[in-house]
């Protein structure tokens, strides 16, 4: 589900249990952490990120991302270019629409969260 915008604060999601990854994850590379993950770089197609908590990508997210992998339904995924091959929050799965190309070409930060059991993607307004 796409649409709307939100201005939730980063601090609402990212507590002390957060790791920082300062590189691009390329195809075949994966990161998993039972906490939050902040990536400064891209997540390319074929790479995967699995977090117990939330994930923020300061770059393009084109690979597979799983937030809330240990059951946290409040987990979110934020990316400056959110084009994941597949995005999961807890056990709810969503994938990129098949016509991704015309969808988003600019860098618009977006946030994916669970709302009433549906993965919802909104523009993320930085406060």
């Amino acid at each position: 589900m796409y649409g709307g915008s939100t201005n939730l604060n980063v601090e609402d999601f990212f507590d002390d249990n957060t790791i920082l990854v300062q590189r691009t994850l390329r195809s075949g590379q994966s990161i998993s952490y039972d906490g939050n993950i902040v990536i400064v770089g891209d997540v390319n197609p074929g790479a995967e990120v699995i977090a117990g908590g939330s994930v923020i990508v300061i770059g393009a997210l084109r690979g597979m991302v799983h937030a809330g992998a240990s059951g946290d339904a409040n987990a979110v995924v934020i990316a400056f270019k959110l084009l994941p091959t597949q995005l999961r929050i807890v056990d709810h799965i969503t994938r990129a629409p098949d016509d991704v190309e015309n969808l988003l070409d600019e860098m618009v930060p977006e946030i994916a969260s669970l709302k009433n059991g549906v993965v919802t993607i909104e523009r993320w307004e930085v406060r």
């Binding site: 195809s27 075949g28 891209d42 390319n44």
Partner: protein, 264 residues
């Protein structure tokens, strides 16, 4: 200055051997002393592309296993005095050589040659590990296809974690008409994902196939566009700044390619 260069790709058939032969011949034509190492043991090709197959007596496995001395196995090219080839073995497999042996071999070769260029086999297994073991610099070849780019990305990740931290990219077989029609990934699309330095773009060109079949690297063909692309790449490898080719075959000086790669 790094002299031992591996040419790799991940995906098969995208043009590693063609690139190795042409860049090697290109650098030799510029007056450098070059040796090409065919690391594709069991699927020997480079000798054929260079038209040197009938001169092979010893091969890389004979060298590493001590059956002959390094010098005995190296073949001189028939056209370019600076160009040499260390052929692969055809009757062995990738495990016939170890990464340590490759390191030692590259160490020996770089004492004698200005450039040591290694033709890597497809894949990410033993043959790949052998080919990169002694390398100081890496060239990644891809075609403008999603699967090839994906594999190139995988390879770049593996190169980076092996200490070859800034591989350079060659985009091979670009068809500008297809890019324009939106039917092929553009240079921009590829660079956006791979985010490494572009060494050059080679058009899809029948001349490559013709010259490969004749055993004459297309880089020596003054008239072909792909030859020009390889000559430019050879100069960029030396560190020269060479403007990018306009790969539009018709329509004069319209810089379709320059526009795509953001130079215009």
């Amino acid at each position: 200055m790094s002299k031992v260069i591996v040419v790799t790709s991940g995906k098969g058939g995208v043009g590693k051997t063609t690139t190795t032969a042409n860049v090697g011949a290109g650098l030799a034509a510029l007056g450098h002393k070059v040796v090409l190492v065919d690391a594709d043991i069991g699927l020997r090709n480079l000798d054929v592309v260079l038209g040197l197959e009938n001169r092979i007596v010893y091969d890389i496995v004979d060298v590493t296993s001590g059956h002959c001395r390094l010098r005995q196995a190296i073949i001189k090219d028939k056209r370019l005095p600076g160009l040499h080839l260390l052929p692969a073995a055809q009757t062995k497999d990738k495990t016939a050589v170890s990464p340590e042996q490759m390191q030692e071999l590259c160490g020996e070769l770089k004492k004698e040659y200005e450039y040591v260029i290694i033709d890597c086999p497809a894949g990410i297994e033993r043959g790949f590990k052998n080919a990169i073991a002694g390398a100081e610099r890496a060239i990644v070849v891809t075609t403008p296809e999603v699967s090839a780019v994906r594999d190139a990305d995988r390879i770049i990740g593996l190169l980076e974690s092996s200490g070859l931290s800034s591989p350079e990219l060659i985009i091979n077989r670009l068809r500008i008409n297809m890019v324009k029609a939106g039917d092929m990934m553009s240079i921009d699309d590829i660079l956006e994902i791979l985010a490494i330095d572009l060494l050059g773009v080679v058009p899809d060109d029948d001349e490559v196939v013709i010259s490969t079949n004749k055993g004459e690297p297309v880089v020596l063909n003054e008239k072909s566009l792909s030859g020009k692309a390889y000559r430019n790449i050879s100069r960029r490898i030396k560190g020269e700044k060479v403007p990018f080719l306009n790969l539009e075959s018709e329509g004069g000086f319209l810089n379709a390619l320059r526009r795509i790669i953001g130079l215009k």
